[in-house]
């Protein structure tokens, strides 16, 4: 999985790799004997446990982007709100951005942070998530922090442990959709979520980008990551796509699509473009206030694009479910 590049120092070969415990860099590592024994190459038993736990979850969607601040959390939150609009469906939103959890605020749950110990309590089958609505559950590390000043200064392994707990120990119950919001990049959190969900069926990833090349160049890396770990891509959303002045109604390209934007990237890489969401000050305001932009201003152009995107994702998931069934039937 890890890339080996020229000019770059060889470090840990990875605990699950062939060289584990045997390479020259392993000399002197306290874990060398453990790695060399082969014990670390066995699959983590948690993966099977997570598989069993999440077998009652129909659809799993990851929201990804190589770039930070492009609107992953905003999108995840609104996707959750939109799906939860159908009261017959059970939706959950999991925030695995351990160092910068934004979901509690966007979902209007930040004020409750002080009482986190009461909210996230241990129930019979695990941690109970926080409910925004009867059919919309949320889990984030933000609920475990006692003050908004608290920094989570954790290295990779500790973050991975938290993600494992979120998947295995949270009492998710029967769900139609589990949406996973991720931090930017292609590192520990991303590898872990894909690995831990390895024994379950993940419908796919929604990739978020902004129109500029500076953002797209990171997003291409994320797409490459998806291909490497064999994660299907549901499609790409271009966020912050143009700004319509509320006074004169003229459009400005604040983040110019100088290399053709997401449209060109999708055409080049043969990926579906799910939609382009314009910049709208009311989106940022709704997020700050913890309200759903879709119910605050349902008639705005941005809300309409959102609804269309959510529809395509739902269609994709029901198709992917049918296909999955076909495969299982054929195997039987």
């Amino acid at each position: 999985m890890a890339e080996v590049l020229d000019n770059v120092p060889e470090h840990c070969p990875g605990t699950t790799s062939e060289q584990a415990g045997k390479s020259s860099t392993c000399q002197g590592c306290p874990n060398q004997t453990l790695c060399a024994s082969g014990a670390t190459k066995a699959p983590d038993p948690a993966i099977a446990e997570i598989g069993a736990k999440l077998s009652s979850v129909k659809h799993k969607i990851l929201v990804l982007s190589g770039k930070g601040g492009v609107g992953k959390s905003t999108f995840s939150a609104h996707l959750a709100h939109a799906l939860a609009g159908d009261s017959t469906k059970e939706i959950a939103l999991l925030d695995i951005d351990i160092c910068g959890p934004s979901i509690p605020r966007i979902m209007g749950l930040e004020g409750e942070q002080v009482n986190t110990l009461h909210i996230v309590h241990q129930s019979g089958s695990g941690w109970s998530p926080v409910y925004v609505e009867d059919n919309l559950a949320v889990m984030s590390i933000g609920f475990l922090l006692s003050s908004p000043d608290d920094a989570v200064i954790w290295r990779g392994p500790k973050k991975n442990g938290m993600i494992k707990q979120f998947l295995r120990d949270v009492d998710w119950g029967e769900l139609d959709y589990l949406i996973v919001d991720t931090p930017p990049g292609t590192s520990d959190e991303h590898l872990s979520i894909v690995q831990y969900l390895g024994s379950t069926h993940v419908d796919g990833a929604v990739i978020i980008t902004t129109p500029q090349e500076v953002s797209l160049q990171d997003v291409r890396k994320e797409i490459r990551f998806c291909q490497k770990v064999k994660l299907p891509i549901i499609g790409v959303v271009e966020n912050m796509s143009g700004f319509v002045c509320p006074k004169c109604k003229n459009t400005s390209q604040i983040f110019p699509p100088s290399s053709g934007g997401a449209e060109k990237m999708c055409a080049d890489l043969n990926l579906p473009l799910l939609g382009k969401v314009p910049l709208d000050p009311r989106i940022a305001r709704s997020c700050d206030e913890g309200k759903s932009f879709l119910s605050e201003v349902p008639d705005s152009p941005a809300a309409k694009v959102y609804q269309k995107i959510v529809q395509s994702i739902q269609d994709y998931c029901s198709n992917s479910a049918t296909q999955q069934q076909d495969i299982t039937t054929r195997q039987e």
């Binding site: 890339e3 470090h11 990875g14 190589g66 605020r105 000043d149 500029q212 604040i254 910049l279």
Partner: protein, 274 residues
């Protein structure tokens, strides 16, 4: 973490001729850390300083594109890797992981320990030579990269950190945590910059606060930090960044440039007075 103990090591090496080291931090991604880093660097070089940029965002290096240096080969000399100079007078030096990747679309799928190792090299093995200021651009968060940067830089010296945020509460909330990180690790906060602060419509001059307004200043007050100033959303800045052009040279009279330039003066003053 024992960063204090490391200070006693005298392995200054390649950083011995670097006068000031400033980290550009933000808990939040996409708030403009790299943009602010490049613009501060350009403003400082235009004011006659020798500046270096160390791009430590391993998973998403943006600076090479923003400075339009492409993907040159990085050469080795006796004292380490030679940084890439963006100008003929060698006033702006840059080192980024972007230079080491064979394919620009390739994902750097690395877990923490590997990132920590490379950052250790980056920090100690680049032959910066004489610099007035070294700006260290960081990825979002408070994790492996940040700890590695501090552990390695503390051997030399870190003058402080500049925190970048956008005005909305969703962003200042994350940056507040980053300030706690600075306090815990003993890094002085030089100040807070509010980026993407308001957008003036080029057609009718109406100012829209797309990402709200005033959050950066409020955060500075709340945490007892210096507020360095606001940088507005400016399509001319975004396109300069996209094309890797020198915004300071193209639009020296713009309000955006005067904001950046005044922030760079404040930072420089605060570095020189301590």
């Amino acid at each position: 973490m024992s960063v204090q103990n490391l200070e006693e090591n005298n392995g200054d090496g390649n950083l011995s001729q670097v006068r000031h080291v400033v980290l550009i931090l933000s808990g939040k991604g996409g708030v403009g850390k790299s943009t602010i880093t490049t613009q501060l660097a350009l403003a400082l070089t235009h004011a006659g300083n020798k500046v270096g940029i160390l791009d430590t965002d391993l998973c998403g290096p943006s600076i090479p594109r923003m400075l339009s240096v492409g993907r040159p080969d990085v050469h080795q000399c006796d004292s380490g890797w030679v940084p890439v100079y963006t100008d003929s007078r060698k006033n702006l030096a840059l080192m980024s992981i972007g230079f080491l990747l064979a394919d620009p679309d390739e994902a750097v799928v690395w877990r923490g320990p590997k990132k920590t190792a490379l950052i250790g090299q980056f920090v100690s093995d680049v032959a910066w030579g004489e610099l007035d200021v070294l700006l260290v651009d960081t990825p979002p968060g408070t994790s492996d990269e940040h700890l590695a940067i501090l552990e390695n830089l503390k051997k030399h010296r870190v003058d402080g950190a500049v925190l970048v945020t956008t005005p909305q509460a969703v962003s200042t909330g994350d940056v507040r945590r980053e300030i706690t990180f600075c306090k815990k690790t003993g890094v002085r906060v030089l100040g807070v910059i509010e980026n993407m602060s308001g957008f003036v419509c080029p057609h009718c001059s109406e100012c829209s606060n797309i990402f709200s307004k005033g959050g950066g200043e409020e955060l500075a007050k709340l945490t007892g930090s210096v507020f360095l100033g606001c940088v507005p959303l400016d399509p001319q800045l975004s396109s300069s960044i996209e094309e890797g052009k020198d915004f300071a040279e193209l639009f020296p009279d713009s309000t955006t440039f005067s904001a950046i330039s005044s922030i760079s003066h404040t930072i420089l003053n605060s570095l020189q007075t301590t």
